[in-house]
């Protein structure tokens, strides 16, 4: 699709510019969905009635007392639903449940003139429950054989033979914590109905088309009767990919039933107790190495904690399995996956989408085994990198493996890793109570939705008679800078200054049938669609210009608001050419479309080439651990990351840094605790507030933070040679966990292998220090087993249902 005639010498893509809304952000002028509330006359407020049991049957729901509360207008229950009583895409998420599936599940919603009246109304609703037995942890689910969805299996080579002949065999277990998205803006929808019965929902959603579909099927309407708009989100991170739909449907239902606008905004504790999170995983693994440290085989069983409904758990698990290899060649591999059904929030997409959990398997293996193999962890990692010509375990050729090497070598060099490692050894030898360590880890992350159909996008580009340009596309803005990049793409494609291009909010009546803004693919897909629309318009304008300039149309150049012939001196202003085209009755707008070519994926066989390309990166992290408390500091982080030819360097830098810190939060600090006791509080999220669930703050930022984007990294076949950036950098934070492991091991004798709990909180590090000093196994951690058969991962029932093509598919149309 690249046409040489519109590649400007000084393209707007690649320029370092601030976020398109930066001036609005800093002045408080940027509008988020809930900011519309005060601007909407007569709006009602929705408040949930949340169940106090992890699992229970609703035996009586008595809403009349709520209506006695002054200001309460209506209580929404299952009986009010004109369409399908389901807020999800798998038809396993009743919007108004008769069976409570997790503590905090909303059984009905109260509408009030004020939020206070709705809250008091919700307190007045009488609900009787019959408590049922519940499953809270993954281990409980495994013991009770409580699973949901398909059970994918990824296999290559002869695993059993590889183990029987291996020089070194290790096995272990790992419990990975989940993670709360903690977007600063909680879920919010504002809905109203216009004079023709058209439902208009403004929602903080990453997936307006799917929100539209769910609202339509709940209301029993066709999709054309529902419009969803997303102005912007105050953060998404995957948490607003599927979770907004039900809340939007409640607001829309309230608006339809009362004829008044309805606002539904979750408080932080409601958001924490009602919406899904990153999946925690339980992992059993066994690994074989030869004498040189080359990985010979990996056998693992991954059990994800899906929560109460299936949601996106199947594709998340599929991606986890596809990332167990990370950047390493593993000739013989068998990985089984399964999804626990637990009585908790329905876990969902979160930046990385299973990739982080998958990668952590092999990084945990390498980090724990390196000391036992007597090999430096960084050398062990480098030793096992993919080389050109090799394939992933699911059969995709690993293209550009040398980029992982380039990132790695550059980070070693610019990070002065050799010199600093020597200084660290010196420091450790002279400090009794403090240890430092430096760890380097790579990232290889596949870009595209595994589900092939999602890899399409649309855009709408209008050129007005005065030459100004308005673009709309199917992607949503959650802070990742997608809109900024799209403006740059449009300005570049049309050869006009950035100031001439404006962007209108994402809404489903402009661009239909969009995919979620997810899988890091927003810029790749929508950028290509925007560019496609621009090129259609340019193709028509080129004809007009060619006549005007008297040159062949292929020789017309569009640059910086001027139109001229290649090599010629005559030129026409963009606006004049546009005006001329209008009078010649030339269509000045276009709908752009893009589909990613060359993808194929068999989800049942777990085989194919699901990814357009791989993103690479490497991080070197230095930490310091205090032996008295386990507290630690991130002293320095160096990153080299591959974003292709950056569309917008300031934006990409921000994504790399932000992703890294968010990943570090997941691995070190953020600690979801659920009550798994047998008290009535069983199933309660104990960390359901900002004061108990701690995100990284300024004090967790690396003290020195050097991030470089890999140079000479043009990616063929992607818009302006760029690459996706949203998710991959998150996994660079695995270097933090590995540095903590190494610093902790340095409290013990040489060759100490450390079992580190996840998240590696100061407490977890403290126990690991105790272990390194010979003080016994950390609590609740199984030790690494060396030699023999080891701990053989549980091999799931061979008759279990694999993933199916529909596993990643979602509902379409009403009732889908």
């Amino acid at each position: 699709m690249t046409s040489p005639s519109n590649q400007a010498a000084d393209p707007v893509v690649g320029q370092t510019i601030p976020h398109e809304s930066a001036a609005l952000h800093v002045t408080g002028a940027a509008l988020y969905t809930d900011d519309l509330t005060v601007r909407t006359h007569g709006i009602l407020h929705a408040h949930p009635v949340q169940a106090p049991h992890a699992h229970a049957r609703v035996t009586r729901l008595h809403t009349a007392p709520a209506l006695e509360v002054p200001g309460v207008v209506r209580v929404l229950t299952a009986a009010d639903v004109p369409g399908v009583n389901d807020g999800g895409v798998k038809h396993d998420e009743p919007l108004f449940p008769s069976e409570v599936m997790f503590l905090g599940h909303a059984v009905c919603w109260v509408l009030g003139e004020t939020l206070e009246s709705a809250r008091l109304g919700a307190l007045a609703v009488e609900v009787d429950y019959e408590p049922l037995s519940s499953i809270v942890t993954v281990r409980e689910a495994i013991a009770a054989d409580s699973f949901q969805g398909g059970r994918p299996k990824l296999e290559r080579g002869d695993v059993d033979a590889a183990f029987s002949g291996a020089e070194h065999v290790f096995s272990g277990e790992l419990d990975l914590a989940g993670q709360e998205h903690f977007y600063l803006e909680t879920h919010c929808s504002v809905a109203h109905v216009d004079e023709g019965g058209q439902v208009f929902v403004q929602s903080s959603t990453q997936h307006p088309s799917e929100t539209q579909e769910i609202v339509a099927h709940v209301l029993g309407l066709a999709s054309h009767a529902v419009t969803v708009q997303c102005l912007r989100m105050g953060g998404g991170f995957g948490g607003k990919e599927m979770q907004p739909h039900g809340f939007a449907a409640i607001a829309a239902l309230g608006a339809v039933l009362t004829g008044r606008p309805v606002r539904l905004r979750l408080t932080r504790s409601q958001d924490l107790t009602m919406t899904g999170k990153r999946h925690g995983f339980h992992i059993q693994w066994r690994a074989a190495f030869d004498g040189t440290g080359a990985v010979q085989a990996l056998d693992a069983t991954l059990t994800s904690d899906g929560g109460w409904s299936l949601d996106l758990s199947e594709p998340v698990l599929a991606r986890a399995l596809c990332h167990v290899d990370n950047a390493y060649w593993i000739p013989n591999l068998r990985v089984n996956g399964r999804i626990a059904l637990t009585h908790k929030t329905s876990q969902t997409a979160f930046r990385g989408f299973g990739g982080p959990q998958g990668m952590l398997v092999i990084e945990d293996v390498l980090g724990r085994c390196a000391p036992r193999l007597g090999i430096d962890p960084a050398q062990l990692r480098r030793r096992n990198f993919y080389v050109e010509g090799q394939h992933t375990p699911y059969g995709q050729p690993v293209r550009h493996p040398e980029r992982a090497v380039r990132c790695w070598e550059q980070v070693l060099a610019t990070g002065e890793v050799a010199a600093r490692s020597a200084r660290i050894a010196e420091f450790n030898a002279t400090h009794e109570h403090t240890r430092r360590a430096l760890a380097v880890t790579p990232v290889k992350f596949g870009i595209s939705f595994n589900f092939t159909a999602f890899n399409q996008a649309g855009a709408l580009v209008h050129v007005y008679k005065d030459g100004s340009v308005l673009i709309t596309h199917g992607g949503t803005e959650m802070g990742q800078g997608l809109h900024t990049k799209m403006l740059q793409v449009a300005a570049t494609a049309l050869g006009v200054p950035l100031s001439l291009v404006r962007l209108a909010p994402t809404r489903t009546d402009k661009v239909p049938n969009t995919s979620a803004t997810a899988a890091s693919s927003g810029a790749d897909l929508n950028g290509a669609a925007v560019r496609n629309a621009c090129e259609q318009i340019l193709g028509r304008l080129r004809v007009v210009a060619s006549a005007r300039l008297g040159v062949r149309d292929v020789d017309v150049r569009f640059e910086n608001g001027l139109v001229r012939a290649a090599g010629g001196s005559e030129q026409v202003a963009w606006a004049d050419l546009v005006s001329e085209a209008y009078y010649q009755r030339v269509q000045l707008w276009a709908a752009g479309f893009h589909r990613t070519e060359g993808l194929h994926w068999d989800s049942t066989a777990m085989h194919g080439s699901p990814f357009k390309y791989f993103s690479y990166g490497a991080a070197a992290t230095e930490v310091e651990v205090d032996g008295f408390t386990g507290a630690y500091r991130l002293r320095r982080v160096d990153i080299v990351h591959d974003v292709g030819d950056s569309l917008s360097p300031l934006i990409d830098l921000g994504q790399v840094e932000g992703g890294f810190v968010q990943g570090a939060g997941w691995l070190t600090l953020e600690d979801l605790r659920w009550d798994d006791s047998s008290t009535p509080a069983r199933g309660r999220l104990l960390t359901a507030s900002a004061s108990t669930y701690k995100l990284p703050s300024f004090s967790e930022m690396p003290e020195v933070f050097n991030v470089a984007l890999l140079e000479r990294a043009t990616e063929d076949g992607v818009v302006y040679g760029s690459k996706a950036v949203g998710e991959p950098p998150l996994m660079l934070a695995i270097s933090v966990r590995e540095a903590l492991r190494q610093a902790t091991a340095a409290f013990g004798p040489s060759g100490t292998s450390v079992d580190l709990a996840s998240p590696a909180t100061p407490e977890a590090v403290f126990w690991a220090v105790r272990q390194a000093r010979g003080g016994g196994q950390p609590p609740r951690l199984a030790p690494l087993v060396e030699g023999g058969v080891g701990l053989v991962p549980e091999q799931p029932d061979p008759a279990a249902r694999p993933l199916e093509p529909r596993s990643e598919q979602v509902a379409s149309g009403s009732g889908g």
Binding site: L24, Y183, R268, M478, T687, S697
Partner: protein, 499 residues
């Protein structure tokens, strides 16, 4: 107090009526209802700072200091007669304030939701009167482990400790903060500092859920308290505000006491340091200026600047939380609480003050007027806070030490503990095990075993009981190691900040 007087606040220079506001409405919701939707609710408990705004408050002299506060915790009624500046009031697209400009051009905002709060916290530090760009950047200073937390322009990152950002990873926000210059001469917000702060208004606001009253003086406050037994006393509202927002607490009668002049004295005498109960922790920090080293070490670890700008020493004594960081330190300092009621004043030793979980000797008709710390102070003091996060976290365990070591012998030991019992406690057995012993590693080890057994720690989401006990056990070893080690000078870690 004049019932019927029109209540109002000056917001971004404009006088806005507070009439019709319910006493349970917080300042954030009120501001947003006025159409000023820049400030956001991110958590409604003062943890995220997305709601931060600036208030004109008294500085240490006769002028005004722009003080950043969490609007979600402050009752809207407390804005009566006050001056507020929000992100909208600092600048607008097309005429950005220097703070806004630096954040915008450096990529300091991504989703932008936390940004207006960051802008206000950052602007308050920008306008801090004693922020100095002439900081001496010597080699020793360059090696300071916290050097990266203070900019060459004197900007202390601690000013942003109460603001969370989930997108950026903070580096561009730090760079923006450190790039700020000095306010221009004609900057009206800077010029406002030279004038006196707004006087405390005598406020009386009745609404459907109850009444908010701000008495003019202590006598009036005590009369109100006598007339309304069970009234909630509110100073910075950093605890009560959370109850209102998160637990739906509503009080029939709230008395705002944070501006009472009788509660705002700070006096350093020969025998005692007296700190007024209504002084915020920031005011205490500034007022003491390092004269009580233990508090000086503690205060930066206490919650966040945003919280400390509101939270008072009296509030800490009133709520008497077992995990409040201040109380173990005051125990180690052998402080006394001055209670005042209709019948006059009485002084209670802090060690006797706590009677149970969040229960104290304070009677319902009394309020805390001040806290007294006897001087001279012990020579070796330290505050160890064990938490997940260094900025703005609640302690798993807090240990405050005050030791007198003379001639190599521990003459006197006072140790206060938080997070290990239903109340803050003194570690009496450990103190006894230390006193009279030589201050050696052997003594520290022996006493550490005793300290390990103090209190009755619990398992919770912050930490396990075992961990709490374990870090109690290492606290004395750490104190000994730190008190006997010389200053460590180390090379800086790398190429400096930023990419």
């Amino acid at each position: 107090m004049t019932p019927g007087r029109r209540l109002s606040a000056t917001v971004n220079g404009e006088n806005l009526s507070l009439a019709g506001t319910d006493p349970s409405t917080n300042a954030l919701d009120w501001l947003r209802a006025q159409g000023l939707t820049g400030a956001k609710e991110g958590c409604a408990e003062g943890e995220c700072g997305a709601c931060a705004v600036m208030l004109a408050r008294a500085d240490t002299g006769s002028g005004t200091e722009w003080t950043a506060l969490n609007a979600c915790l402050l009752p809207a009624a407390a804005l009566d007669g006050q001056e507020v500046v929000t992100a909208e009031g600092l600048g607008a697209p097309g005429r950005l304030h220097p703070v806004q400009r630096e954040l915008a051009v450096r990529g300091g905002s991504q989703c932008g939701y936390c940004t207006p709060g960051f802008v206000c916290s950052m602007a308050a530090e920008y306008y801090r009167g004693d922020r100095s760009a002439t900081r001496d950047d010597t080699a020793a200073d360059a090696a300071h482990p916290r050097r990266h937390e203070c900019g060459p322009n004197g900007f202390e990152l601690d000013a942003l400790s109460g603001n969370l950002c989930r997108c950026t990873g903070y580096r561009p926000i730090r760079d923006a903060a450190f790039a700020l210059g000095e306010p221009a001469d004609h900057d009206p917000i800077a010029r406002r500092r030279a004038g006196p702060p707004p006087a405390a208004a005598a406020t009386w606001l009745e609404g459907p859920t109850g009444t908010y009253a701000r008495p003019a003086d202590l006598g009036e406050a005590l009369d109100l308290l006598a007339a309304h037994p069970g009234a909630v006393l509110v100073a910075g509202s950093t605890d009560w505000g959370v109850d209102v927002n998160l637990r739906g607490s509503r009080a029939p009668f709230v008395i705002g006491i944070d501006r009472l002049p009788e509660l705002r004295h700070l006096a350093v005498g020969d025998d005692v340091v007296e700190i007024g109960a209504a002084l915020s922790l920031t005011e205490v920090e500034r007022g003491l200026a390092g004269r009580v080293p233990l508090l000086d070490q503690l205060v930066p670890q206490f919650a966040s600047r945003l919280i400390r700008n509101g939270a008072t020493i009296g509030g800490n004594l009133g709520t008497a939380s077992p995990i409040g960081d201040l109380l173990p330190a005051l125990l180690a300092l052998e402080a006394a609480v001055v209670l005042v009621g209709a019948g006059g004043e009485r002084e209670v030793a802090l060690a006797d003050y706590f009677t149970g979980y969040r229960r104290t000797l304070r009677c319902a008709d009394e309020m805390v007027r001040a806290v007294r710390i006897p001087v001279p102070l012990s020579g070796t003091t330290a505050f160890h806070k064990v938490a997940k996060r260094r900025f703005d976290d609640i302690s798993s365990v807090a240990v405050a030490f005050a030791l007198d070591v003379a001639g190599g012998v521990v003459r006197r030991a006072r140790i206060g503990l938080g997070g290990v019992a239903a109340t803050p406690i003194r570690a009496y057995t450990t103190e006894a095990a230390l006193e009279g012993q030589p201050w050696t590693a052997e003594t520290a080890h022996a006493a550490a075993d005793v300290l390990h057994g103090e209190g009755t720690p619990l398992d919770d989401h912050r930490a396990s009981a075992d961990y709490r006990r374990a870090v109690l056990g290492t606290a004395l070893l750490r104190l000994h190691a730190e008190s006997t080690a010389g200053p460590v000078v180390e090379a800086p870690t790398g190429r400096g900040v930023g990419a």
